[in-house]
């Protein structure tokens, strides 16, 4: 599957444009120069042969170098991966915590004002495009700075010019990631709260919860041990599946906030028609999604003792 995906992506990126196009309209760069580079970089070869060069590079040379320069791809990819993981893991954890909490509370107080408000905000969160929320936040906080002189939350980049070291660096990093995390988690949080509410409602009305109550267990124990734990199972599935969407969302968020992450790396590579970094990105992203799905499978067993892996 991964091999087929890699071939198709390589082909699409390769045929979507000429990486030497900009050179064609650069004065003083002759067609001979352009043709020389084309030959040296095998750009005149058929796509499947170029794919072969990429496979060789990927297997023997850690994804090799970028198409036109001598820069190795892997160090750049590690750097942006760390930044993206900081963003998506934080967004996912916060979305999970808030989404689950809101969903449980909504289910326990069904049709209460809180439930109606949570439902409305959830649909709003699901309906709003990520890029629009991000742009609006940028405009709002830039305006706040202009009016007050206080930079409450930075609107771009990963850190300040002088972020310091140690704790100071991390405080600065968190400060810069507040808006991107908020944007990224808002959609997931809305989704989790809806699923959690539905799942919780189904569980609290089930026979075994009624039995637990009949046994005289305190409501807190019934809710947390018997209902909540079982209601979590669909959320685990959803959370595992949402990693793909989360990484997709990171492409938008990182682009809008100009964060040096995998999303922006991917967009830049696409814009330069360089298939090599795009392919490396694809392999890493696909591996990450597979790993997160594996973690979800393991968590099933933890949450539901009936699930066992032989």
């Amino acid at each position: 599957m991964l091999v087929a995906a890699s071939f198709f992506v390589f082909t699409f990126v390769t045929v979507s444009g000429d990486p030497l196009a900009a050179l064609t309209i650069t004065p003083n760069v002759s067609p001979e120069t352009v043709n020389r580079i084309r030959e040296e970089k095998h750009l005149d070869e058929p796509v499947f042969i170029r794919y072969g060069y990429w496979v060789k590079d990927a297997l023997t040379n850690q994804f090799g170098t970028k198409l036109l320069s001598n820069e190795p791809i892997l160090p750049d990819l590690w750097r942006v991966m760390k930044n993206t993981l900081q963003l998506v893991i934080a967004a996912e954890i916060i979305a999970l915590l808030l989404g689950v909490a809101i969903g449980v509370y909504s289910a326990l107080r069904q049709y209460s004002p809180f439930d109606h408000a949570a439902t409305s905000f959830s649909f709003l969160g699901l309906a709003m495009p990520l890029f629009w929320i991000a742009l609006m936040l940028q405009v709002v906080f830039a305006n706040v700075y202009q009016k007050t002189g206080h930079s409450i939350f930075p609107t771009a980049s990963l850190n300040s010019v002088d972020p310091g070291e140690g704790l100071s660096f991390w405080i600065d990093r968190v400060h810069h990631l507040v808006l991107p995390i908020f944007v990224l988690m808002i959609v997931n949080m809305a989704g989790y709260s809806r699923y959690m509410r539905a799942s919780m409602l189904e569980v609290v009305n089930s026979d075994y919860v009624r039995t637990a109550r009949a046994k005289g267990l305190p409501e807190r124990v019934v809710t947390m041990r018997h209902a909540f734990r079982n209601a979590l199972i669909p959320i685990v599935t959803l959370s595992a599946l949402s990693w793909g969407a989360l990484l997709g969302g990171a492409v938008v968020t990182e682009t809008v906030f100009s964060l040096d992450g995998m999303g922006l790396y991917f967009v830049n590579a696409l814009l330069t028609n360089d298939p090599y970094p795009v392919m490396a990105w694809l392999m890493i992203t696909a591996t990450m999604i597979i790993v997160f799905n594996l973690i979800a499978d393991i968590l099933y067993g933890v949450l539901d003792p009936r699930v066992r892996y032989d």
């Binding site: 444009g17 309209i25 001598n70």
Partner: protein, 541 residues
């Protein structure tokens, strides 16, 4: 403590902390540091290498590898590391001489000498090195001067742009000796001959340069440091400047600039640049047969109100911008002549011209709601494919305006918008198009090599245009050493041949902008690749 109270307290602490951290961070960025927000990050610091050759890289390197001369904001070469302007000693063989100042030194104390220029020449002509262009360097026969300050360069043949070539910043011979230049200066540069030194690079975020304390060849930087902050998204750049995360930026011509023109806390300086938008007409085999007729090409240019296009596109950010009436020089250059003014907008003249050549089926007079298209003898209907890049609002608007203007006189344009990669990589060289609009990124040296664009068989003449008399003059220009003589030849040839042949329609020269905070003194537009930091020593805040 109850859970709800705890959550409230936590929220309050976060808000207070962010309020405290924000201004503190902003304050620490102010002391002696200027933050230059830029839209592109250099892939490495190699300069004009394959895979690099970017303006973003030039911005960093220009003040590290300082040149004998630099281009000022008017585009003229003025001495920097040299005591005076380079001298032309002999025309045959072309021999030039220049002398570095005694104070010209590398930051490690070694003097800048002829050996540095010689080493640079050898880097560029070494076939193992992946440089983007060897133009000029490959025409040098010898570089003399040993380890002295005076450099004598002898060329194999006449090279008109010799002054730009010898004015470039040399590499440090003592650092690069015996090294593989394809692996040098990828991530840092250890020395500098200019006002700033490379300091650090946090890839994907920012690159820092700091004052070169050993710089003596000119005024030192007043600033302690300049940070290039790489924010790739257009909107994010503008918002970051407004949000106090930067001090200066050089935006592309975008509508957001209009907000800064109204904002008193920013200064916007603007100037016409060297890049000019134009529409090339395909007169070769694969183009529409009608375009081989001079009267049709004349009808095209006279049917477009080019001044209205320029005005409509830039009304908010560069009011008063006029069309550029020359392919050779830009309006701010002293050599500029309005050669193309002769081909002025006149819809009545277009209709007269088409009818006089036997074209039928079009309108008798120009009308905004016209749908009748002219058909001309032996060349068919005047319906042309119009290629340009997709995703560019200004180009889309330009197309809409001229499409309407031409349709009202019976000429039809059909859009063929493509990505830059496809348009310039595939379509343009294929010559399978009728009209193609794009920008030539020119420089002060462009007129010398303009034969590549417009002479018969020119390297980048994709139009198939060939006027032998015109070509002879363009070829002569490329070996004419005197700049005023070159300008005279070019203006005369353009007015006499090119304006009448109409192989390409000049639209407008793109304006260049610098936006800076009021508190920052010094930044002004420099439309060359020097960019606004060309006068970095004058910057202060």
């Amino acid at each position: 403590m109850r859970k709800s109270s705890f959550l409230l307290l936590l929220g309050a602490i976060m808000i207070v902390a962010s309020l405290a951290v924000g201004p503190a961070a902003a304050k620490s960025e102010q002391a002696g540091t200027v933050v230059f927000i830029h839209d592109q990050e250099p892939p490495n610091l190699q300069g004009p290498w394959v895979g690099n050759n970017l303006y973003a890289t030039s911005l960093v390197l220009n003040n590290i590898f300082y040149g004998c001369q630099i281009r000022n904001s008017a585009g003229d070469l003025v001495p920097r590391l040299c005591a005076g302007k380079p001298k032309l000693l002999k025309k045959n063989p072309l021999t030039v001489r220049f002398t570095y100042k005694k104070t010209a030194k590398w930051s490690d104390g070694k003097p800048v000498t002829a050996a540095d220029f010689k080493a640079t020449w050898q880097v560029f002509i070494n076939p193992k090195n992946n440089v983007i262009s060897r133009t000029g360097f490959e025409d040098i026969r010898s570089v003399g001067g040993g380890r002295g300050k005076t450099v004598t360069v002898v060329f194999k043949k006449l090279y008109a742009d010799w002054e730009s070539l010898v004015s470039g910043g040399p590499y440090p011979a003592h650092i690069i000796a015996g090294k593989d230049m394809n692996q040098m200066f990828l991530n840092s540069i250890p020395v500098s001959s200019g006002p700033w030194l490379f300091d650090s690079w946090q890839k994907g975020v920012q690159l820092n340069v700091r004052r070169n304390p050993n710089f003596q060849a000119g005024p030192k930087m007043k600033l302690q440091r300049l940070t290039f902050r790489y924010i790739l998204d257009t909107n994010a750049r503008f918002q970051a400047l407004r949000a106090g995360q930067g001090d200066v930026m050089e935006p592309q011509p975008q509508l957001q600039i209009a907000d800064f023109l109204k904002d008193r806390s920013f200064r916007v300086s603007r100037k016409i640049g060297f890049a000019w938008e134009h529409i090339d007409i395909q007169v070769g085999e694969k183009g529409h047969a009608a375009l081989k007729q001079r009267y049709v090409r004349t009808a095209l240019i006279r049917g477009m109100n080019r001044n209205q296009v320029a005005g409509a596109l830039y009304a908010q950010i560069a009011p008063g911008l006029k069309t550029v009436q020359s392919h050779m020089f830009k309006p701010f250059q002293t050599q500029y002549r309005q050669n193309w003014a002769k081909q002025s907008f006149s819809q009545a003249a277009v209709i007269r011209l088409l009818r006089a050549n036997g074209c039928t089926g079009g309108p008798a007079r120009a009308a905004a709601n016209n749908n009748d298209i002219y058909t001309c003898p032996r060349v068919g209907k005047l319906s042309f494919r119009f290629h340009t890049t997709s995703g560019n609002q200004l180009r889309a608007l330009t197309f809409e305006i001229i499409q309407r203007q031409l349709k009202s006189v019976g000429i039809e344009l059909t859009p063929r918008f493509q990505t830059g990669g496809t348009l310039f990589g595939t379509t343009l060289p294929s010559r399978d198009w009728d009209l193609l609009m794009f920008t030539w990124v020119g420089s002060p040296s462009t007129p010398i090599t303009i034969k590549d664009l417009y002479a018969c068989g020119g390297d980048q003449n994709y139009m198939g245009y060939c006027n032998r008399a015109f070509s002879r003059i363009l070829n002569k220009v490329s070996t004419t050493l005197d700049a005023s003589q070159r300008a005279k030849l070019l203006n005369a040839a353009e007015a006499r041949f090119m304006v009448n042949d109409v192989p390409s329609i000049p639209m407008y020269a793109r304006p260049v902008f610098v936006i800076s905070k009021r508190g920052l003194r010094g930044p002004v537009v420099n439309p060359t690749t020097e960019g606004s930091p060309w006068n970095i020593s004058a910057w202060s805040k």
